[in-house]
Subunit: 202 residues, 2 copies
DNA sequence: GAGAATATAATACATATGTATCATGATCAA
DNA sequence: TTGATCATGATACATATGTATTATATTCTC
């Protein structure tokens, strides 16, 4: 009956269970047993219960696959999805299901509220740290406060700009001296407010 | 024996199961039964199996809580998690479980590969569109190619910089003229490569 | 080295949960 | 209307899975 160094096996058990839970696939006691080569389910359970005592796991008693990451340990936070839209159609951006290019995960507490994602084209907002190719997560809303980063439809094209007011008129300001502001004498439809920027790096 | 309109109940069953799965908490057949008020587990299973036939769910036969979202279906794409680390300890950043401040969702195809997240401090990388407060998603790796955005430990502090080589020596370059490059005569430990940048706006 | 704490084992049992079989009402299509 | 399809139900069974009891070996602590 070989016996590992104190705590080492338990750490490995925890990491295994944590990874399974993060993957949305809660393991059984016997799966833990098998993975670590224990001859009895009890040894797996022994470690699992120790981890519960240490508050590194929580347990739903009597339920199958009942071990979870504790709520304060946070990874239990559920996830939502926002559609990544390719072409944005005027009027109903988030309903152009045909042009969904994929889905991006967003924290659930922000999801469900009409979020969608767009890929940024052009360098007009580099001054705000928004580069071409970046993904912006947008919450659909028809208006926004001055100073907000917004997505608007200008001549049928979706664009990210900063919202300003001037003489009671709406303006869309780039953050790059090489570009000119867009004034409301042109057709502008506000799609929503940028709530997040994401960039995939090399 | 009342009977709902065609397909309507099935849609609701799907949404319930999907939400449970996205939350990392796979339901049992009997839990579905209870939620929808069926008098027998079979009715729940009837719908679940229909959903499997429609490819909206997949099933691990004979396993408890075995229904899953299929891998190909768009919003069904599984999600992974990267721990948001507060304080980064030298040597083993992703194992400093104690300092996990939360978890951020990442696409599953990129997860599992030793990802972690850090919050950016300082303006040394504004030239690369990385602002203070931004979240960087990092893949742990001991080396990186010149030109890559990396996270390194400098004097015990985690910092984001661009990796350069000069006269065979490693240098960490800021992208802001107000900051100076860091040369390898100081103690530098490479933690990993930045694979994504995220910013929450307003 | 001795006692305590820890880790593993053999075995058994209770319950949670997936699955099947037959029957019946409801809805739909022709 | 009438047969076909769909949806629900009652009941039962098989297995997956959590849990307990007792014992033994290993490691740790003093």
């Amino acid at each position: 009956m070989s016996q590992a160094r104190a705590g080492e096996t338990r750490d490995r058990v925890f990491r295994f269970v944590r990874d399974r839970l993060l993957a949305g696939d809660p393991p059984t006691v016997r799966e833990v047993q098998q993975v670590f080569g224990f001859r009895t389910p009890h040894t797996a359970r022994y470690h699992l219960e120790k981890l519960v005592a240490e508050r590194k796991l929580s347990a739903a008693r009597g339920k199958a696959r009942g071990y979870r990451l504790p709520i304060d340990g946070a990874p239990a936070a559920p996830v939502g999805w926002a559609p990544l839209l390719g072409r944005v159609e005027a009027g109903r951006p988030a309903e152009a299901i045909e042009d969904v290019e994929g889905y991006v995960p967003v924290p659930a507490d922000r999801a469900g509220a009409g979020l969608f994602a767009l890929r940024v084209q052009g360098r007009s907002m580099v001054g705000a740290g928004i580069l071409p190719g970046d993904l912006v997560i947008v919450r659909r809303q028809p208006t926004a406060d001055p100073g907000a980063l917004v997505v608007a439809l200008v001549d049928g094209e979706a664009t990210v700009k900063r919202l300003r007011r001037r003489d009671g008129r709406v303006e869309l300001h780039p953050e790059n001296p090489e570009f000119a502001p867009i004034r409301s004498d042109r057709e502008i439809a506000l799609l929503g407010k940028v709530v997040e920027v994401r960039r995939t790096v090399g």
